[in-house]
């Protein structure tokens, strides 16, 4: 079964065609800077047959990005049928209380997904629109949706509860949900496998630092116990265009100053805040970091970014009491030794000691960048959400096929 996994990030579209259950990666790629105002413009890095090709193209939205990606895959499939797509799988950020496990797309599930659009205004509408676009462009291919929130299902009540009026919170399902669960779960498994440890005995802090969104997750004995992202993906770290933690009273004040309605205010906090509002010239931290020596606003953006990550690491160090592993993952977590060094600065009190030489020399794959004396192992692990999505999709699709065959018999 060939599963084409589509992972719609806030400014990217990652894709992987994976043959299951062998987990053989046939095609992979990423459309970068989708819908982002950037000096360089967008590009697709497409890998097939061991060759990597970079396609420069303008992608004003995710539909445009998918059209370009689909063309590349169809071109490969025309050359060799082994690249045919049997199943499509999507990562879906915020299902609210409507779903708690992987689901096959049909009219009913689409109607329920539609109700979740306001919950993650950046991600949900994009993925929803992408699913519709896939239904039109590849109508015979079944689609599955894997949810980013499932890993955080087991958070204890004192961690998922907001101090809001109890009745309203219950009625409206207002609680911390947490996101990037697929990535946090994947890097947890990889870290334990790399160190030869059993996940059910480990206390882990996982920093998913993406160019779009980011979150920090506290993991105890294989389960997520806290996520910096909350009811929506707006809370927590400073992100490319999202504000992260902010005084809620300021929101009303900003609305009054701007005479904005709540939709416009929400759009401003989701699409015009974060790094782009601090740095001014770019939403991409990779473009901001080289300028911190010469640009005061770039330095301020980097400072606040690091400070927020440290806030959650400090918090989780007290929550978990003892931390065995600290993980850096996703684009910024993997590509920026500067950010890793700044985040680990002055953390020796907690047994977190980074080896600057190893940190600077990191190139690829999984690496331990801590000093030999560090009580906490600091790991850099490239995430592979698509692999986990393919595993989950295969499990569900395979089970459904078997049930169907039994019924027919």
């Amino acid at each position: 079964m060939n599963i084409l996994v589509l992972n719609c990030g806030s400014s990217s579209l990652k894709y992987r065609l994976i043959r299951m259950p062998q987990e053989v990666e046939l095609i992979s790629g990423e459309a970068q800077k989708v819908g982002v105002c950037s000096a360089e413009g967008g590009k697709i890095i497409h890998c097939a047959e061991g060759k990597t090709v970079v396609h420069q193209c303008q992608m004003p939205d995710h539909d445009a990005a998918f059209r370009s990606v689909r063309d590349l895959i169809v071109r490969s499939a025309l050359i060799d049928r082994k690249y045919s797509v049997d199943v499509l799988a999507h990562r879906y950020v915020h299902p609210g209380h409507h779903f708690n496990s992987t689901v096959r797309i049909d009219e009913s599930s689409m109607a329920r997904l539609e109700k979740t659009l306001p919950l993650a205004p950046i991600h949900n509408p994009m993925t929803y629109s992408l699913i519709k676009s896939c239904s039109e462009q590849m109508p015979d291919v079944p689609q599955y949706v894997v949810f980013d929130t499932s890993f955080h299902r087991n958070m204890p009540p004192e961690h998922y509860t907001y101090a809001l009026p109890r009745d309203i919170a219950r009625r409206m399902h207002l609680r911390r949900i947490g996101f990037h669960g697929i990535s946090h779960e994947f890097v947890m498994q990889e870290a334990c496998s790399f160190l030869g440890r059993d996940a059910s005995t480990q206390r882990i802090i996982s920093c998913h630092l993406g160019t779009g969104g980011g979150s920090v997750c506290a993991i105890e004995n294989g389960k997520s116990v806290y996520s910096s992202m909350g009811f929506t993906p707006l809370e927590g770290l400073v992100m490319n265009t999202r504000c992260g933690d902010v005084d809620p009273a300021l929101l009303f004040y900003g609305m009054a100053v701007d005479s904005a309605d709540h939709d416009r205010a929400l759009m401003l906090l989701n699409k015009k805040s974060g790094t782009v509002s601090l740095a001014g010239f770019s939403a991409d931290m990779r473009e901001v970091l080289p300028k911190i020596g010469e640009d005061r606003r770039a330095a301020a953006a980097a400072d606040l970014y690091v400070r927020r990550v440290k806030r959650y690491i400090g918090f989780y160090l007290l929550l978990l009491k003892k931390t065995d592993i600290l993980i850096f993952t996703d684009t910024l977590g993997v590509e920026s030794p500067y950010l890793r060094a700044q985040i680990c600065k002055q953390m020796q009190w907690a047994g977190i000691c980074i080896n600057n030489a190893k940190n600077g020399a990191y190139d690829n794959g999984i690496a331990d960048i801590s000093t030999t004396g560090s009580q906490t192992r600091i790991l850099v692990i490239p995430t592979n959400e698509e692999c986990l999505i393919a595993r989950e999709t295969y499990r569900v699709a395979h089970r459904q096929r078997r049930c169907k065959s039994k019924e027919q018999v």
Partner: protein, 367 residues
């Protein structure tokens, strides 16, 4: 002899201090919205407190606001103009405070007057680090940086502890605050542009996903209803529906499920900000508890200490420090991190700072 006037919404508490010590009892003046007869009441109260002694100075304390890191601002036209600028941030309190200043000027025109703004301590926080990553029009507001709260208390805690390397200070109040300090300078504060952010309060929500207010509005709540909900119907009241004194509420911990959850949520918030402070200042040499509600929060102080016991922190359960005045160590000798409780009144703290900032400079020999 100085008189310290603590100006709260609706009341003024006047205390007389001589050589850093409270003399007699404090007087409380009720002030109505129309400010009727305030000047006369102030005149009578000051006379009653001073008896036959001459008043060296009057210090008027505002729990909110900051203009510079200078603690005592001489009350002159320049100071008044600057204070007027704070009206945008404190639209309800600052006009009232200004009216009280005017009443004092009218009542006791020949006595030197100083303004002590409660959060001047936070002016020395590294400003770049306490901004929010928000878009215009939010940025244009002066509120888009953390204003902090309980600056007087946190600064006094730092002063009370002799070895102030890495200090984490907790002030228990209707909204508790946490401040991380390095060598006496604040580096982290839990409250935000308004007191709503941070640790949950008696009726306020504390940290909440910024998407939630908008989600509520999308579900039909007006902006005013949401504002009221977050500020007045949340916190301990929202989670357990309890409206009485917090002391009574805390006794139900472990007995009532809602109360237990509410206290656990509070403790989680506390760990968040103590942890942040430690991550930024690089650990913790001393932990200090204090604030106007330290007695009420004593059981929670013990719970916080218990959750930090893995750091080698040990409280001496024999100490009932909350009943003692001044600064007192409440951890055992074996405790890796010393824990102290500071229990002093606002007026005592201000008087203490007055002695070092103003009185000392007056007494310096000329020439």
């Amino acid at each position: 002899m100085i008189i310290i006037a603590e100006v709260y919404p609706g009341s003024i508490v006047l205390s007389r201090f001589a050589d850093d010590r409270l003399v007699g009892k404090s007087l409380t003046l009720s002030v109505d919205a129309r400010m009727s007869s305030v000047a006369q009441d102030v005149r009578d109260s000051v006379s009653a407190l001073a008896e036959k002694d001459s008043v060296e100075a009057i210090v008027l304390y505002s729990p909110w606001g900051s203009l510079s890191s200078r603690r005592f601002l001489p009350l002159d036209r320049g100071a008044l103009t600057k204070l007027r600028g704070l009206t945008e941030i404190f639209p309800f309190y600052m006009p009232f405070f200004m009216s009280v200043l005017q009443a004092f000027e009218e009542a006791v025109p020949n006595v030197g007057q100083y303004v002590f703004l409660g959060n001047s301590f936070f002016n020395s926080v590294y400003r770049r680090s306490i901004r929010y990553a928000v878009a215009e029009p939010f940025v244009s507001s002066v509120r888009t940086r953390c204003q902090g709260r309980h600056g007087l208390f946190h600064e006094y805690h730092a002063r009370s502890i002799k070895e102030t390397g890495k200090l984490v200070s907790v002030v228990f109040d209707t909204q508790t605050t946490v401040c991380g300090m390095y060598k006496g300078t604040p580096r982290t504060i839990s409250t935000g542009g308004t007191p709503l952010e941070g640790v949950m309060g008696r009726t306020s929500c504390g940290d909440v996903d910024p998407g939630i207010p908008f989600y509520l509005m999308q579900q039909g709540y007006s902006v005013y209803a949401v504002d009221e909900m977050l500020k007045k119907q949340s916190g301990f009241r929202g989670l357990c529906g309890f409206d009485g004194p917090l002391e009574e509420l805390f006794r139900l911990y472990g007995i009532d499920n809602d109360v237990t959850l509410a206290v656990d949520v509070f403790l989680t918030h506390m760990l968040k900000y103590i942890g942040e402070a430690m991550a930024i200042i690089g650990g913790m040499d001393t932990l200090v508890f204090g604030g106007p509600r330290i007695t009420e929060f004593t059981p929670l102080m013990h719970m916080i200490a218990a959750r930090l016991s893995f750091l080698g922190l040990r409280l001496d359960t024999q100490h009932l420090a909350a009943d003692k005045k001044g600064c007192c160590r409440v951890s055992t000798q074996e405790s890796v991190i010393p824990v102290c409780v500071v229990n002093d009144t606002v007026a005592t703290m201000i008087s203490c700072f007055y002695q070092t900032d103003i009185a000392a400079s007056i007494e310096e020999p000329v020439g």
